[in-house]
Protein backbone atom coordinates (compact mmCIF):
# COMPACT_ATOMS: atom_id res chain seq x y z
CA UNK A 1 0.00 0.00 0.00
CA UNK A 2 1.39 3.37 -0.94
CA UNK A 3 -0.83 5.44 1.35
CA UNK A 4 -3.05 4.44 4.24
CA UNK A 5 -5.09 6.87 6.28
CA UNK A 6 -6.81 5.31 9.28
CA UNK A 7 -9.32 7.17 11.41
CA UNK A 8 -7.84 10.57 10.58
CA UNK A 9 -9.42 13.60 12.24
CA UNK A 10 -8.42 17.21 11.64
CA UNK A 11 -9.57 20.57 12.94
CA UNK A 12 -9.33 24.22 11.99
CA UNK A 13 -9.80 25.80 15.38
CA UNK A 14 -13.30 24.77 16.33
CA UNK A 15 -14.22 23.47 12.90
CA UNK A 16 -14.05 19.69 12.78
CA UNK A 17 -13.07 19.31 9.12
CA UNK A 18 -12.09 15.62 8.94
CA UNK A 19 -14.03 13.11 11.04
CA UNK A 20 -12.37 9.72 10.95
CA UNK A 21 -11.10 9.34 7.39
CA UNK A 22 -10.14 5.86 6.13
CA UNK A 23 -8.58 6.09 2.70
CA UNK A 24 -6.11 3.83 0.93
CA UNK A 25 -4.13 4.33 -2.24
CA UNK A 26 -2.25 1.47 -3.84
CA UNK A 27 0.94 1.95 -5.83
CA UNK A 28 0.09 2.52 -9.49
CA UNK A 29 -3.50 3.57 -8.84
CA UNK A 30 -5.48 6.64 -9.73
CA UNK A 31 -7.86 7.36 -6.87
CA UNK A 32 -10.36 10.19 -6.90
CA UNK A 33 -12.17 12.03 -4.12
CA UNK A 34 -15.71 13.21 -4.84
CA UNK A 35 -17.64 15.56 -2.63
CA UNK A 36 -19.60 18.78 -2.42
CA UNK A 37 -17.98 22.11 -1.64
CA UNK A 38 -16.72 22.10 1.90
CA UNK A 39 -16.80 18.30 2.21
CA UNK A 40 -13.14 18.24 3.20
CA UNK A 41 -11.34 17.16 0.02
CA UNK A 42 -8.67 19.84 0.12
CA UNK A 43 -8.30 19.42 3.86
CA UNK A 44 -7.69 15.71 3.39
CA UNK A 45 -4.86 16.41 0.95
CA UNK A 46 -3.31 19.07 3.14
CA UNK A 47 -3.58 16.86 6.22
CA UNK A 48 -1.30 14.36 4.52
CA UNK A 49 1.34 17.09 4.87
CA UNK A 50 0.42 17.81 8.48
CA UNK A 51 -1.23 21.13 7.63
CA UNK A 52 -3.64 20.85 9.43
CA UNK A 53 -2.06 18.17 11.57
CA UNK A 54 -4.15 15.03 12.13
CA UNK A 55 -5.55 15.33 15.67
CA UNK A 56 -6.28 11.61 15.78
CA UNK A 57 -5.61 8.63 13.53
CA UNK A 58 -2.61 7.56 11.53
CA UNK A 59 -1.14 8.27 8.11
CA UNK A 60 1.29 5.74 6.65
CA UNK A 61 3.13 6.51 3.43
CA UNK A 62 5.32 3.94 1.71
CA UNK A 63 5.55 1.86 4.88
CA UNK A 64 6.47 4.80 7.12
CA UNK A 65 4.28 6.52 9.70
CA UNK A 66 4.33 10.16 8.61
CA UNK A 67 1.53 11.41 10.89
CA UNK A 68 3.83 13.55 13.02
CA UNK A 69 6.52 14.56 10.53
CA UNK A 70 7.21 18.18 9.63
CA UNK A 71 5.58 19.34 6.39
CA UNK A 72 8.84 19.65 4.47
CA UNK A 73 9.97 16.22 5.66
CA UNK A 74 6.78 14.70 4.29
CA UNK A 75 7.29 16.43 0.96
CA UNK A 76 10.82 15.02 0.79
CA UNK A 77 9.42 11.49 1.19
CA UNK A 78 8.06 11.84 -2.35
CA UNK A 79 4.61 13.39 -2.13
CA UNK A 80 3.86 16.33 -4.33
CA UNK A 81 0.77 18.53 -4.43
CA UNK A 82 -0.87 20.76 -7.01
CA UNK A 83 -2.73 22.81 -4.44
CA UNK A 84 -6.11 24.44 -4.66
CA UNK A 85 -5.62 27.93 -6.05
CA UNK A 86 -2.33 27.10 -7.85
CA UNK A 87 -0.04 28.95 -5.44
CA UNK A 88 2.77 29.58 -7.88
CA UNK A 89 5.44 31.92 -6.52
CA UNK A 90 4.30 35.16 -8.16
CA UNK A 91 7.58 37.08 -8.04
CA UNK A 92 9.67 34.26 -9.41
CA UNK A 93 10.04 33.41 -13.06
CA UNK A 94 8.41 30.35 -14.57
CA UNK A 95 11.82 28.74 -14.69
CA UNK A 96 12.53 29.48 -11.03
CA UNK A 97 9.16 28.03 -10.05
CA UNK A 98 10.11 24.84 -11.83
CA UNK A 99 13.48 24.89 -10.10
CA UNK A 100 11.63 25.15 -6.80
CA UNK A 101 9.63 22.08 -7.77
CA UNK A 102 12.82 20.20 -8.50
CA UNK A 103 14.41 21.62 -5.35
CA UNK A 104 15.55 18.52 -3.57
CA UNK A 105 15.37 15.98 -6.40
CA UNK A 106 18.49 14.54 -7.99
CA UNK A 107 20.17 17.29 -10.01
CA UNK A 108 21.05 15.01 -12.92
CA UNK A 109 17.35 14.54 -13.73
CA UNK A 110 16.67 18.26 -13.97
CA UNK A 111 17.16 18.77 -17.70
CA UNK A 112 15.13 15.68 -18.62
CA UNK A 113 12.28 16.61 -16.29
CA UNK A 114 12.29 20.15 -17.56
CA UNK A 115 12.07 18.92 -21.14
CA UNK A 116 9.19 16.66 -20.18
CA UNK A 117 7.24 19.51 -18.58
CA UNK A 118 7.91 21.81 -21.52
CA UNK A 119 6.73 19.09 -23.90
CA UNK A 120 3.54 18.80 -21.86
CA UNK A 121 2.96 22.57 -21.71
CA UNK A 122 4.87 24.31 -24.52
CA UNK A 123 3.56 27.70 -23.36
CA UNK A 124 5.72 27.38 -20.23
CA UNK A 125 8.80 27.10 -22.41
CA UNK A 126 7.83 30.28 -24.24
CA UNK A 127 7.23 32.09 -20.96
CA UNK A 128 10.26 30.68 -19.19
CA UNK A 129 11.64 34.03 -18.05
CA UNK A 130 8.29 35.67 -17.30
CA UNK A 131 7.24 36.29 -13.71
CA UNK A 132 4.71 33.67 -12.70
CA UNK A 133 2.41 36.33 -11.21
CA UNK A 134 1.89 37.80 -14.66
CA UNK A 135 0.81 34.51 -16.26
CA UNK A 136 -2.85 33.96 -17.04
CA UNK A 137 -4.82 31.81 -14.62
CA UNK A 138 -4.71 28.81 -16.92
CA UNK A 139 -0.99 29.20 -17.49
CA UNK A 140 -0.44 29.38 -13.75
CA UNK A 141 -2.37 26.16 -13.35
CA UNK A 142 -0.11 24.48 -15.90
CA UNK A 143 2.90 25.82 -14.08
CA UNK A 144 1.60 24.43 -10.79
CA UNK A 145 1.24 21.01 -12.39
CA UNK A 146 4.64 21.21 -14.02
CA UNK A 147 6.23 22.28 -10.74
CA UNK A 148 4.69 19.31 -8.93
CA UNK A 149 6.08 16.91 -11.53
CA UNK A 150 9.64 18.23 -11.33
CA UNK A 151 10.42 16.28 -8.17
CA UNK A 152 9.39 12.92 -9.71
CA UNK A 153 6.94 12.23 -6.88
CA UNK A 154 5.87 8.74 -5.90
CA UNK A 155 2.44 10.10 -5.08
CA UNK A 156 0.96 13.04 -6.94
CA UNK A 157 -1.94 14.93 -5.37
CA UNK A 158 -4.04 17.02 -7.74
CA UNK A 159 -6.58 19.39 -6.16
CA UNK A 160 -8.88 20.54 -8.96
CA UNK A 161 -6.15 20.76 -11.61
CA UNK A 162 -8.59 21.74 -14.35
CA UNK A 163 -10.04 24.70 -12.47
CA UNK A 164 -10.14 27.76 -14.67
CA UNK A 165 -8.84 25.99 -17.75
CA UNK A 166 -10.41 26.10 -21.19
CA UNK A 167 -12.14 22.83 -22.27
CA UNK A 168 -9.28 21.90 -24.57
CA UNK A 169 -6.85 22.08 -21.62
CA UNK A 170 -9.22 20.18 -19.33
CA UNK A 171 -9.13 17.29 -21.79
CA UNK A 172 -5.37 17.66 -21.94
CA UNK A 173 -5.12 17.46 -18.14
CA UNK A 174 -7.12 14.26 -17.97
CA UNK A 175 -5.01 12.85 -20.77
CA UNK A 176 -1.85 13.79 -18.87
CA UNK A 177 -3.17 12.15 -15.71
CA UNK A 178 -3.73 8.96 -17.66
CA UNK A 179 -0.31 9.12 -19.32
CA UNK A 180 1.55 9.79 -16.09
CA UNK A 181 -0.16 6.81 -14.54
CA UNK A 182 0.11 4.42 -17.46
CA UNK A 183 3.53 5.33 -18.88
CA UNK A 184 5.34 6.39 -15.73
CA UNK A 185 3.50 4.26 -13.20
CA UNK A 186 2.79 7.36 -11.14
CA UNK A 187 0.30 6.99 -8.29
CA UNK A 188 -2.27 9.77 -8.33
CA UNK A 189 -4.88 11.09 -5.92
CA UNK A 190 -7.26 13.37 -7.77
CA UNK A 191 -9.92 15.87 -6.70
CA UNK A 192 -12.07 17.22 -9.50
CA UNK A 193 -15.21 19.30 -9.86
CA UNK A 194 -16.07 17.19 -12.86
CA UNK A 195 -16.95 13.97 -11.05
CA UNK A 196 -17.96 12.17 -14.21
CA UNK A 197 -14.59 12.53 -15.92
CA UNK A 198 -12.71 11.94 -12.70
CA UNK A 199 -14.49 8.65 -12.06
CA UNK A 200 -13.87 7.59 -15.65
CA UNK A 201 -10.13 8.11 -15.38
CA UNK A 202 -9.80 6.75 -11.83
CA UNK A 203 -9.44 3.14 -10.77
CA UNK A 204 -11.19 3.79 -7.50
CA UNK A 205 -12.97 6.60 -5.75
CA UNK A 206 -14.21 7.83 -2.40
CA UNK A 207 -17.22 9.99 -1.71
CA UNK A 208 -16.70 12.55 1.03
CA UNK A 209 -19.45 14.25 2.97
CA UNK A 210 -19.05 16.49 6.02
CA UNK A 211 -15.50 15.31 6.61
CA UNK A 212 -16.26 11.59 6.44
CA UNK A 213 -16.16 8.89 3.76
CA UNK A 214 -19.71 7.86 2.90
CA UNK A 215 -19.05 5.65 -0.09
CA UNK A 216 -16.11 3.88 -1.68
CA UNK A 217 -15.70 1.72 -4.75
CA UNK A 218 -14.24 1.33 -8.18
CA UNK A 219 -14.72 4.10 -10.72
CA UNK A 220 -17.42 2.17 -12.57
CA UNK A 221 -19.26 1.24 -9.39
CA UNK A 222 -19.43 4.83 -8.26
CA UNK A 223 -20.45 6.02 -11.71
CA UNK A 224 -23.33 3.56 -11.60
CA UNK A 225 -24.31 4.25 -8.00
CA UNK A 226 -27.67 6.03 -7.70
CA UNK A 227 -26.50 8.21 -4.80
CA UNK A 228 -23.47 9.42 -6.71
CA UNK A 229 -25.55 10.01 -9.84
CA UNK A 230 -28.11 11.99 -7.89
CA UNK A 231 -25.69 14.10 -5.90
CA UNK A 232 -22.69 14.65 -8.17
CA UNK A 233 -23.39 13.66 -11.76
CA UNK A 234 -26.83 14.87 -12.70
CA UNK A 235 -27.41 18.49 -13.56
CA UNK A 236 -25.23 19.18 -16.52
CA UNK A 237 -21.87 17.73 -15.51
CA UNK A 238 -19.96 15.51 -17.84
Amino acid sequence: MMLTMTGVHAHYGHIHALRGIDVEVQAGEIVTLIGANGAGKSTLMMSLFGNPRASAGQIVFDGEDITGLATHEIALRGISLVPEGRRVFPRMTVFENLQMGAGFAAAENFEADLARVFAMFPILDERKMQRAGTLSGGEQQMLAIGRALMSRPKLLLLDEPSLGLAPIYIRRIFQIVRELNRDHGMTILLVEQNANQALKVAHRGYVLQHGGVTLAGSGEELLASPEVRAAYLEGGHG
Partner: protein, 304 residues
Amino acid sequence: MAYALQQLINGLTLGAMYGLIAIGYTMVYGIIGMINFAHGDIFMVSAFIAVTCFTLLAAADVSSIPLALMFVLVVSMFFTSAYGWAVERVAYRPLRGSTRLAPLISAIGMSIFLQNTVQLTQGARVKPIPPVIEGGIELWQTPDFTVQIGWSQLLIIVTTVVLMVAFTWMITHTAFGRQQRSCEQDRTMAALLGVNVDRTISLTFMLGAALAAVAGVMVTVYYGVVDFFIGFLAGIKAFTAAVLGGIGSLPGAMLGGLLIGLIESFWAAYLWAEYKDVATFGILCLVLMLRPSGLLGRPEVEKV
Protein backbone atom coordinates in the same frame (compact mmCIF):
# COMPACT_ATOMS: atom_id res chain seq x y z
CA MET B 1 33.58 72.10 -4.54
CA ALA B 2 36.44 70.33 -2.85
CA TYR B 3 34.53 70.49 0.40
CA ALA B 4 31.45 68.96 -1.23
CA LEU B 5 33.54 66.16 -2.69
CA GLN B 6 34.87 65.42 0.75
CA GLN B 7 31.29 65.25 2.06
CA LEU B 8 30.44 62.86 -0.74
CA ILE B 9 33.23 60.52 0.35
CA ASN B 10 32.22 60.74 4.00
CA GLY B 11 28.57 60.23 3.09
CA LEU B 12 29.35 57.16 1.01
CA THR B 13 31.27 55.68 3.91
CA LEU B 14 28.41 56.26 6.31
CA GLY B 15 25.88 55.09 3.78
CA ALA B 16 27.76 51.86 3.21
CA MET B 17 27.47 51.04 6.91
CA TYR B 18 23.80 51.96 7.12
CA GLY B 19 23.15 49.89 4.02
CA LEU B 20 24.80 46.82 5.54
CA ILE B 21 22.63 47.09 8.63
CA ALA B 22 19.50 47.90 6.61
CA ILE B 23 19.80 44.61 4.71
CA GLY B 24 19.13 42.73 7.93
CA TYR B 25 15.96 44.73 8.60
CA THR B 26 14.66 44.32 5.11
CA MET B 27 15.38 40.58 4.79
CA VAL B 28 13.75 39.73 8.10
CA TYR B 29 10.76 41.88 7.26
CA GLY B 30 10.54 40.21 3.89
CA ILE B 31 10.36 36.73 5.34
CA ILE B 32 8.28 37.16 8.49
CA GLY B 33 6.56 40.47 7.81
CA MET B 34 7.87 42.00 11.02
CA ILE B 35 10.65 44.34 12.04
CA ASN B 36 13.48 42.83 14.07
CA PHE B 37 13.77 45.41 16.80
CA ALA B 38 16.82 43.75 18.30
CA HIS B 39 18.78 44.19 15.07
CA GLY B 40 20.42 47.52 15.87
CA ASP B 41 22.15 46.05 18.89
CA ILE B 42 23.89 43.47 16.79
CA PHE B 43 25.84 46.33 15.34
CA MET B 44 26.75 47.54 18.82
CA VAL B 45 27.75 44.09 20.04
CA SER B 46 29.97 43.51 17.05
CA ALA B 47 31.62 46.87 17.63
CA PHE B 48 32.43 45.83 21.21
CA ILE B 49 33.68 42.46 20.06
CA ALA B 50 35.89 44.33 17.61
CA VAL B 51 37.27 46.58 20.34
CA THR B 52 38.01 43.59 22.55
CA CYS B 53 39.65 41.66 19.73
CA PHE B 54 41.77 44.58 18.55
CA THR B 55 42.93 45.20 22.10
CA LEU B 56 43.80 41.53 22.55
CA LEU B 57 45.57 41.40 19.21
CA ALA B 58 47.57 44.50 20.06
CA ALA B 59 48.55 42.88 23.36
CA ALA B 60 49.55 39.73 21.50
CA ASP B 61 51.71 41.85 19.21
CA VAL B 62 49.92 40.91 16.01
CA SER B 63 50.99 43.60 13.62
CA SER B 64 49.55 42.43 10.32
CA ILE B 65 46.47 44.58 9.77
CA PRO B 66 44.75 42.37 7.16
CA LEU B 67 45.21 39.36 9.41
CA ALA B 68 43.85 41.20 12.43
CA LEU B 69 40.86 42.46 10.45
CA MET B 70 40.01 39.04 9.13
CA PHE B 71 40.23 37.59 12.59
CA VAL B 72 38.01 40.28 14.09
CA LEU B 73 35.46 39.94 11.30
CA VAL B 74 35.20 36.19 11.66
CA VAL B 75 34.89 36.31 15.43
CA SER B 76 32.25 39.02 15.47
CA MET B 77 30.25 37.50 12.61
CA PHE B 78 30.24 34.22 14.50
CA PHE B 79 28.96 35.69 17.76
CA THR B 80 26.45 38.06 16.20
CA SER B 81 24.92 35.41 13.97
CA ALA B 82 24.52 33.28 17.08
CA TYR B 83 22.76 36.25 18.64
CA GLY B 84 20.57 36.69 15.54
CA TRP B 85 19.66 33.03 15.76
CA ALA B 86 18.80 33.41 19.45
CA VAL B 87 16.62 36.47 18.84
CA GLU B 88 14.55 34.51 16.35
CA ARG B 89 14.32 31.48 18.60
CA VAL B 90 13.50 33.33 21.79
CA ALA B 91 11.61 36.43 20.72
CA TYR B 92 9.96 35.52 17.41
CA ARG B 93 9.39 31.82 16.84
CA PRO B 94 7.38 31.01 20.00
CA LEU B 95 5.14 33.97 19.24
CA ARG B 96 4.52 33.23 15.58
CA GLY B 97 0.78 33.23 15.04
CA SER B 98 0.04 35.46 18.02
CA THR B 99 -0.70 39.18 17.69
CA ARG B 100 1.84 41.20 15.72
CA LEU B 101 2.67 43.33 18.73
CA ALA B 102 3.84 40.43 20.90
CA PRO B 103 7.14 39.59 19.14
CA LEU B 104 7.85 43.30 18.82
CA ILE B 105 7.76 43.63 22.60
CA SER B 106 9.83 40.51 23.20
CA ALA B 107 12.40 41.72 20.68
CA ILE B 108 12.66 45.09 22.39
CA GLY B 109 13.05 43.13 25.63
CA MET B 110 15.99 41.22 24.20
CA SER B 111 17.47 44.42 22.93
CA ILE B 112 17.31 46.05 26.37
CA PHE B 113 18.76 42.92 27.91
CA LEU B 114 21.66 43.00 25.53
CA GLN B 115 22.35 46.71 25.99
CA ASN B 116 22.42 46.27 29.73
CA THR B 117 24.61 43.20 29.58
CA VAL B 118 27.13 45.10 27.51
CA GLN B 119 26.87 48.11 29.79
CA LEU B 120 27.46 45.94 32.87
CA THR B 121 30.36 43.97 31.46
CA GLN B 122 32.00 46.72 29.42
CA GLY B 123 31.12 49.76 31.49
CA ALA B 124 29.01 52.71 30.45
CA ARG B 125 31.91 54.81 29.33
CA VAL B 126 33.04 55.27 25.76
CA LYS B 127 35.68 52.75 24.72
CA PRO B 128 38.52 53.97 22.58
CA ILE B 129 41.04 51.88 20.70
CA PRO B 130 44.26 53.00 19.08
CA PRO B 131 43.72 53.69 15.38
CA VAL B 132 43.88 50.47 13.39
CA ILE B 133 44.31 51.98 9.98
CA GLU B 134 45.80 55.40 9.51
CA GLY B 135 46.42 57.62 6.55
CA GLY B 136 44.81 57.77 3.18
CA ILE B 137 45.13 59.14 -0.30
CA GLU B 138 45.07 62.83 -1.04
CA LEU B 139 42.81 63.17 -4.04
CA TRP B 140 42.74 66.87 -4.63
CA GLN B 141 44.56 69.80 -3.13
CA THR B 142 43.18 73.31 -3.29
CA PRO B 143 44.74 76.25 -1.50
CA ASP B 144 42.41 76.04 1.47
CA PHE B 145 41.15 72.45 1.47
CA THR B 146 42.51 68.95 0.83
CA VAL B 147 40.16 66.22 -0.30
CA GLN B 148 41.21 62.94 1.20
CA ILE B 149 39.89 59.41 1.22
CA GLY B 150 41.13 57.51 4.22
CA TRP B 151 42.32 53.94 3.88
CA SER B 152 39.65 52.98 6.36
CA GLN B 153 36.99 54.70 4.24
CA LEU B 154 38.23 52.94 1.15
CA LEU B 155 38.16 49.66 3.04
CA ILE B 156 34.58 50.23 4.18
CA ILE B 157 33.30 51.18 0.75
CA VAL B 158 35.07 48.34 -1.06
CA THR B 159 34.09 45.72 1.51
CA THR B 160 30.49 46.86 1.41
CA VAL B 161 30.29 46.79 -2.36
CA VAL B 162 31.80 43.31 -2.49
CA LEU B 163 29.47 42.01 0.21
CA MET B 164 26.40 43.54 -1.38
CA VAL B 165 27.21 42.11 -4.79
CA ALA B 166 27.88 38.68 -3.30
CA PHE B 167 24.75 38.77 -1.17
CA THR B 168 22.54 39.87 -4.06
CA TRP B 169 23.97 37.12 -6.21
CA MET B 170 23.27 34.58 -3.51
CA ILE B 171 19.64 35.66 -3.19
CA THR B 172 18.98 35.77 -6.91
CA HIS B 173 21.03 32.84 -8.17
CA THR B 174 21.50 30.09 -5.62
CA ALA B 175 19.19 27.37 -4.34
CA PHE B 176 19.28 28.93 -0.89
CA GLY B 177 18.29 32.29 -2.34
CA ARG B 178 15.35 30.72 -4.14
CA GLN B 179 14.25 29.00 -0.96
CA GLN B 180 14.56 32.27 0.90
CA ARG B 181 12.39 34.05 -1.66
CA SER B 182 9.87 31.22 -1.79
CA CYS B 183 9.38 31.51 1.97
CA GLU B 184 8.82 35.24 1.52
CA GLN B 185 6.18 34.69 -1.12
CA ASP B 186 4.27 31.66 0.18
CA ARG B 187 5.59 29.91 3.24
CA THR B 188 3.05 27.08 3.15
CA MET B 189 3.77 26.29 -0.47
CA ALA B 190 7.51 26.39 0.17
CA ALA B 191 7.10 23.77 2.89
CA LEU B 192 4.96 21.65 0.57
CA LEU B 193 7.91 21.63 -1.83
CA GLY B 194 10.29 20.41 0.85
CA VAL B 195 11.75 23.73 2.04
CA ASN B 196 12.58 23.79 5.74
CA VAL B 197 10.89 27.09 6.52
CA ASP B 198 12.07 27.36 10.13
CA ARG B 199 15.67 26.85 9.12
CA THR B 200 15.36 29.37 6.30
CA ILE B 201 13.98 31.98 8.70
CA SER B 202 16.79 31.27 11.19
CA LEU B 203 19.39 31.63 8.45
CA THR B 204 17.85 34.92 7.36
CA PHE B 205 18.21 36.33 10.88
CA MET B 206 21.78 35.03 11.03
CA LEU B 207 22.81 36.44 7.66
CA GLY B 208 21.33 39.83 8.52
CA ALA B 209 23.24 39.77 11.78
CA ALA B 210 26.50 38.82 10.09
CA LEU B 211 26.23 41.76 7.69
CA ALA B 212 25.47 44.13 10.57
CA ALA B 213 28.53 42.71 12.32
CA VAL B 214 30.69 43.77 9.42
CA ALA B 215 29.28 47.27 9.78
CA GLY B 216 30.06 47.17 13.52
CA VAL B 217 33.66 46.21 12.92
CA MET B 218 33.97 48.91 10.27
CA VAL B 219 32.64 51.61 12.56
CA THR B 220 35.22 50.63 15.13
CA VAL B 221 37.98 50.88 12.58
CA TYR B 222 36.61 54.16 11.27
CA TYR B 223 35.84 56.07 14.47
CA GLY B 224 38.03 54.24 16.96
CA VAL B 225 35.43 54.62 19.74
CA VAL B 226 32.28 52.76 20.68
CA ASP B 227 29.71 52.96 23.45
CA PHE B 228 26.83 50.73 24.35
CA PHE B 229 24.25 53.13 22.93
CA ILE B 230 25.47 53.32 19.30
CA GLY B 231 23.30 50.36 18.37
CA PHE B 232 20.14 52.29 19.00
CA LEU B 233 21.02 55.25 16.85
CA ALA B 234 22.62 53.30 14.03
CA GLY B 235 19.71 50.89 14.23
CA ILE B 236 17.12 53.58 13.76
CA LYS B 237 19.06 55.16 10.93
CA ALA B 238 19.45 51.85 9.14
CA PHE B 239 15.78 51.17 9.76
CA THR B 240 14.99 54.53 8.15
CA ALA B 241 17.21 53.52 5.25
CA ALA B 242 15.28 50.27 4.83
CA VAL B 243 11.95 52.10 4.95
CA LEU B 244 13.15 54.79 2.55
CA GLY B 245 14.34 52.17 0.06
CA GLY B 246 11.16 50.13 0.49
CA ILE B 247 11.04 47.67 3.33
CA GLY B 248 11.36 44.11 2.04
CA SER B 249 13.41 45.19 -0.97
CA LEU B 250 17.09 44.22 -1.02
CA PRO B 251 18.26 46.83 -3.56
CA GLY B 252 16.03 49.28 -1.70
CA ALA B 253 17.94 48.74 1.54
CA MET B 254 21.24 49.41 -0.20
CA LEU B 255 19.95 52.52 -1.95
CA GLY B 256 18.26 53.76 1.21
CA GLY B 257 21.46 53.30 3.22
CA LEU B 258 23.43 55.27 0.67
CA LEU B 259 20.92 58.11 0.61
CA ILE B 260 20.70 58.36 4.39
CA GLY B 261 24.49 58.42 4.65
CA LEU B 262 24.75 61.17 2.05
CA ILE B 263 21.93 63.24 3.50
CA GLU B 264 23.39 62.99 6.97
CA SER B 265 26.85 64.01 5.92
CA PHE B 266 25.73 66.94 3.72
CA TRP B 267 23.25 68.07 6.34
CA ALA B 268 25.97 68.09 8.98
CA ALA B 269 28.37 69.90 6.67
CA TYR B 270 26.11 72.64 5.36
CA LEU B 271 23.24 72.99 7.81
CA TRP B 272 23.39 72.16 11.49
CA ALA B 273 25.80 69.46 12.51
CA GLU B 274 24.24 69.18 15.95
CA TYR B 275 20.84 68.39 14.39
CA LYS B 276 22.01 65.71 11.97
CA ASP B 277 19.97 62.99 13.63
CA VAL B 278 16.85 65.08 13.24
CA ALA B 279 17.29 64.91 9.49
CA THR B 280 17.06 61.14 9.53
CA PHE B 281 14.00 61.06 11.72
CA GLY B 282 12.37 63.74 9.60
CA ILE B 283 12.90 61.56 6.55
CA LEU B 284 11.44 58.57 8.35
CA CYS B 285 8.28 60.55 9.14
CA LEU B 286 8.00 61.96 5.63
CA VAL B 287 8.43 58.59 3.95
CA LEU B 288 5.91 56.95 6.23
CA MET B 289 3.40 59.70 5.53
CA LEU B 290 3.92 60.24 1.82
CA ARG B 291 5.22 56.96 0.40
CA PRO B 292 5.06 54.11 2.90
CA SER B 293 6.16 51.58 0.29
CA GLY B 294 9.44 53.46 -0.15
CA LEU B 295 11.43 54.11 -3.30
CA LEU B 296 11.77 50.56 -4.59
CA GLY B 297 9.21 48.70 -2.51
CA ARG B 298 6.00 47.13 -3.67
CA PRO B 299 2.81 48.76 -2.49
CA GLU B 300 1.90 46.87 0.66
CA VAL B 301 -0.59 44.06 0.23
CA GLU B 302 -2.04 43.12 3.58
CA LYS B 303 0.11 40.43 5.13
CA VAL B 304 -1.26 38.51 8.08
